[in-house]
């Protein structure tokens, strides 16, 4: 073997070693995770909890047909009976186990009493009948699924014999299902609350801004009617954008266009006192951002940079590409603020005129996770810089 082939063999060995090491690390991790611990009883507990965990995600959207048909398999594993059915108050949602064809028509009659009474019922073989002599479906336990103190469905368990143990188990599983459905309801409430908050923010174009803009426009009506008309059109466009219906997200380009309208109106008011600089990387214009995420920050900067002092105020608005994220910032050279005060504002403890900021912060965190809130850099006399990051892709987030 000469040197050339020796070196290639060494390379080959190193490559193979790297691959093998990576593969074995993965396998070891998987094995460690799967390694069984504990006594038989422990393992049974683990198995039960695992089965329950498998059913959980399907019940987290409430008692729906698709969710029920996916979760019911795991519920039957938990109960270990020949057949299990889930109904809502009007129809059968899912059936798992034997006898789906011959028995599924009788499930709703079986459920009807429980739906009206809300109490677990045991049905004997006089009610649960079957033409086939060897059919194990001879009796049934029907337990209500309750959410917010209302019966919203039933869990029906079919077995050859309704033992006390089975009744207890059915009751417990039905209660567990109820708890999951309640959680789903909670999720919905939270989503609704956030949507309401967003709607609230939309309505919150600050009244000062509306008043000031109209006053500024009025001042131009006689001296420069053409400018007044243009400003009114900008104002119309701005409100149309702010009041629009539709998606929760928009592209950064659209958001910036709206900021432009806002700034044109503010410049009508402040004239040359307001100086705006832009540093926008075109690469990030198509990033999806929460609707009205930038404008409140700019409004805040204009307020702090200009309204509270005399002379020229400079506002810088920037967006930069940062790998898989985009960085967006708004900076003013105003009097700055006490960092502690800003912390309170962001936490929503001190309302004041920065409601917009804490709202933007809350929405960013809600959409992208806690890593992505607003970052405020400020000190008295040092101006203020508010920045945030947005991932270029996050599941479920789309502009439009």
């Amino acid at each position: 073997m000469n040197n050339a082939t020796a070196s290639t063999s060494v390379t080959a060995l190193v490559l193979v070693a790297v691959v093998v090491a990576a593969a074995s690390a993965l396998v070891a991790r998987a094995v460690l995770r799967r390694r069984d611990l504990g006594t038989t009883a422990d393992r049974t507990t683990f198995a039960t909890l695992h089965t329950a965990a498998l059913a959980t995600p399907h019940l987290r959207e409430g008692l729906t047909r698709t969710g029920a048909s996916r979760a019911i398999r795991h519920l039957r594993t938990l109960l270990g009976t020949p057949a299990v059915a889930l109904t809502d108050t009007t129809s059968l949602l899912a059936w798992d186990g034997i006898g789906a064809a011959s028995h599924d028509g009788t499930a709703m009659p079986h459920a009807s009493t429980v739906i009206s009474t809300g109490r677990t019922a045991v049905l004997s073989s006089s009610t649960v009948t079957c033409s086939k002599p060897d059919c194990p479906i001879r009796s049934a336990v029907v337990a209500p699924v309750v959410s917010e103190e209302r019966v919203i469905g039933t869990l029906i368990v079919y077995a050859p014999e309704a033992t006390a143990g089975l009744v207890r188990a059915t009751h417990e599983v039905a209660q567990w299902v109820s708890a999951q459905v309640d959680l789903a309801e909670l999720d919905h409430s939270r989503t609704r609350a956030i949507e309401a908050e967003l709607r609230a923010l939309r309505a919150q174009i600050s009244p000062h801004f509306v008043y000031n803009s109209l006053a500024a426009i009025a001042s131009f009506v006689r001296t420069d009617p053409e400018r007044a008309r243009e400003l009114l059109l900008e104002f119309a466009d701005f409100t149309r954008y702010a009041f629009r219906r539709g998606g929760e997200f928009t592209t950064l380009a659209d958001e910036l266009r709206n900021v432009e309208r806002y700034l044109v109106l503010e410049q009508a008011r402040f004239g040359d006192r307001l100086q705006v600089q832009l540093q926008v990387a075109p690469e990030v214009l198509s990033v999806a951002v929460p609707f009205l995420a930038v404008q409140p920050l700019v409004e805040n900067a204009v307020q702090h940079g200009l309204e509270t002092k005399t002379g020229i105020g400079r506002v810088t608005l920037g967006a930069a590409d940062a790998g898989a994220e985009a960085l967006i910032w708004v900076e003013d050279d105003g009097p700055g603020a006490d960092p502690e005060l800003m912390r309170e504002v962001l936490a929503g403890e001190s309302g004041g005129d920065s409601v917009g900021m804490s709202n933007v912060d809350a929405r960013l965190r809600q959409v992208f996770g806690d890593d992505y809130g607003l970052v405020v850099e400020t000190a008295p006399g040092a101006g203020t810089k508010v920045s945030f990051r947005v991932p270029k892709f996050a599941s479920g987030v789309r502009a439009g």
């Binding site: 080959a12 193979v16 709206n258 432009e260 705006v276 690469e283 790998g323 990051r389």
Partner: protein, 588 residues
């Protein structure tokens, strides 16, 4: 012949390196005032975007590798530049617009959107990292070769230099993919490859137009000395008497030596002086070919077995592999709409076509002016060496500096783009959760992304730059192409089918790559199959994905139809709410 034009070339490398660092660290701080707001918030035009994509795409393989392959293997390898360009045609027709409309930034994002599966996402991320490393390896490898060629520096230095610059940039937070910088890189590369070759062609004309395809094996025109820096096997097909100073076949030699047919082993440090008109012995792996064979496609010039199979397999890899290159796809995100993505892709094709006109000329001229490269097998250096061989002071130095600058621009721009893509994927999917912040995760990702291929490039790999890149294309073609094409055009794709396809395609292609890199096998047929695996791995992956999906039909994602509408419906149709459009705008 002039002395080796070192200093201008070194300063070119330094200038390109420092410029990259400066631009990366400070960025292009274009400040604008409100009156420019419209300009500032307008998206990058397709032409700029196309230039940037071309700038990022034209790597060492394009700048150096194509010419090297032409010198060694002749007409056959003209398919390389053609395939590199035509890949964008497939991308244009099948993928560009739907991928942009999906909103995905990386290939992993697309897998997640389409299939809603973390597992497929992570498998895609793993493949992105693998492809990125393979591609980076080629860049570092080429950088080492280039720096050694122009300055005589040790081979590891160039790769380490490029790796260090890229690493500093990524860790310092600069050189993220600034469109205008990358676009500028394209025009720099085009200038650096075209102007020298035009001058060289004029010189060649003045020299009496020696036919590169003359009916003979390559012969040196003047007495030429070659120093071997690594152990080397040389095949002699035409007897030649050489002056040797060093070790041949394990025996120290100093003086004339006649080489008949057969194989000769040269130890490192051996100097071989070929007589004027002597036939050039060829390094192992390349066979001497006569002019007519060299110029004819599919003739097996250079000793490549199964030339027809190799050509078709290569074409398949290049055509279908382009859509799976991580650093190219992230650029499409800059397009505002699917339509703009299509226009950008369309513009890329003529830009690349223009660039690829030039490298083959270097290969052809190299057969006349620097056939001794065939002895060492370092044909990839032909672009860098020719100006020094064909011109006199000071033009030799200036043009060498120009091509060197172009080559380093190629290494740096492609490596930066790749590193950013790989680091993004590493930090998002593979090291996340352990880092305090995503910024820190990105930096760690960047370190890993550069360090692994840099280490691999230090270990000696006797494989051409264009071949390594070809393998990266083959892996991309046999994994991401089926995922993208089926994901975009077939609603029946399931996560199980996709996963099975990724595993099978990824394993087959990666195994082929590893075996080829490790030196191949003894059987010529198997070696050819492994060196150009796309012809069998791509159909196999498609088949696995389709069959796997049909077998798991019940697990088609419930929102597949909705996602396909989103991918294929133009943005303005209102099938999803779009921007602020839809209402009448008052005239101004």
């Amino acid at each position: 012949m002039t002395s080796s034009p070192t200093w201008p070339a070194i300063s070119a490398v330094i200038v390109v390196g420092i410029a990259t660092l400066v631009v990366g660290t400070f960025g292009l701080r274009l400040s604008r005032t409100t009156s420019d707001f419209y300009v500032a918030s307008r998206a990058v035009s397709p032409w700029w975007n196309a230039s940037a994509i071309s700038g990022e795409y034209l790597s060492a393989a394009s700048f150096l590798g194509v010419a090297g392959l032409v010198l060694a293997f002749g007409g056959d390898v003209l398919w390389y530049p053609l395939g590199y360009t035509a890949g964008y045609l497939v991308l244009l027709a099948l993928v560009a617009a739907p991928l942009r409309r999906s909103g995905a930034y990386t290939l992993s994002d697309f897998a997640e959107i389409r299939l809603g599966s973390r597992t497929v996402r992570q498998a895609s991320s793993l493949l992105v990292v693998g492809i990125g490393w393979l591609y980076l390896l080629a860049q570092f490898h080429a950088a080492g070769l280039a720096l050694r060629t122009v300055t005589g520096a040790p081979r590891w230095l160039g790769g380490t230099l490029v790796a260090a610059i890229v690493m500093i940039n990524v860790v310092a937070g600069g050189m993220r993919s600034i469109t205008f910088v990358q676009a500028f890189q394209f025009w720099l590369k085009l200038t650096a490859i075209s102007i020298p070759v035009i001058v060289l062609l004029l010189v060649w004309r003045a020299d009496g137009r020696v036919d590169p395809a003359a009916p003979d094996v390559p012969r040196v025109t003047a007495s030429t000395s070659v120093t071997v820096s690594e152990a080397l096997r040389v095949q002699v097909t035409h007897p030649v008497t050489v002056q040797v100073n060093g070790t041949v076949d394990g025996v120290p030699v100093a003086g004339p030596m006649r080489w008949d047919r057969g194989t000769v082993e040269l130890a490192p440090g051996t100097t071989v002086t070929l007589p004027a008109g002597g036939a050039v012995p060829h390094a192992e792996g390349v066979e001497a070919s006569e002019g007519s064979q060299w110029v004819t496609p599919s003739s097996g010039a250079g000793g490549r077995d199964y030339p027809l199979y190799r050509v078709y397999s290569l074409l398949l890899a290049l055509l279908f592999g382009t859509m799976g290159l991580p650093h190219v796809l992230v650029r499409f995100y800059t397009n505002p709409t699917g339509r703009a993505a299509r226009r950008t892709t369309l513009a890329v094709i003529p830009l690349l076509g223009l660039f690829y006109l030039f490298p083959p000329f270097y290969g052809a001229l190299g057969r006349v002016y620097s056939p001794d490269l065939l002895l060492t097998g370092r044909t990839d250096a032909v672009v860098l060496l020719l100006p020094g061989r064909m011109l006199d002071h000071p033009w030799a130095e200036l043009l060498t500096a120009l091509v060197t600058a172009g080559a380093f621009a190629a290494f740096l721009s492609t490596s930066s783009g790749l590193t950013v893509s790989v680091a993004g994927v590493l930090s998002q999917d593979l090291v996340r959760g352990r880092m305090r912040s995503s910024v820190q995760g990105f930096r760690i990702g960047g370190l890993i992304a550069v360090a692994v291929p840099a280490l691999m490039s230090v270990m000696t790999l006797r494989i051409g730059i264009a071949d390594t890149v070809g393998l990266a294309f083959a892996v991309a073609a046999s994994t991401f192409c089926p995922l993208l094409v089926l994901g975009i055009w077939w609603r029946g794709l399931t996560r199980v089918g996709a996963m099975a396809g990724l595993i099978v395609g990824g394993t087959l292609a990666t195994t082929s790559v590893l075996i080829t890199m490790a030196g191949g096998t003894s059987s010529a047929l198997v070696s050819a199959l492994l060196a150009q695996p796309a012809a069998w791995t791509v159909p196999v992956t498609f088949a696995v994905m389709v069959v796997g999906s049909i077998m798991t039909r019940e697990s088609i994602p419930p929102n597949a139809a909705r996602i396909l509408v989103q991918l294929h419906a133009p943005e303005g149709l209102g099938l999803r709410a779009s921007g602020t459009g839809g209402e009448a705008t008052p005239t101004r």
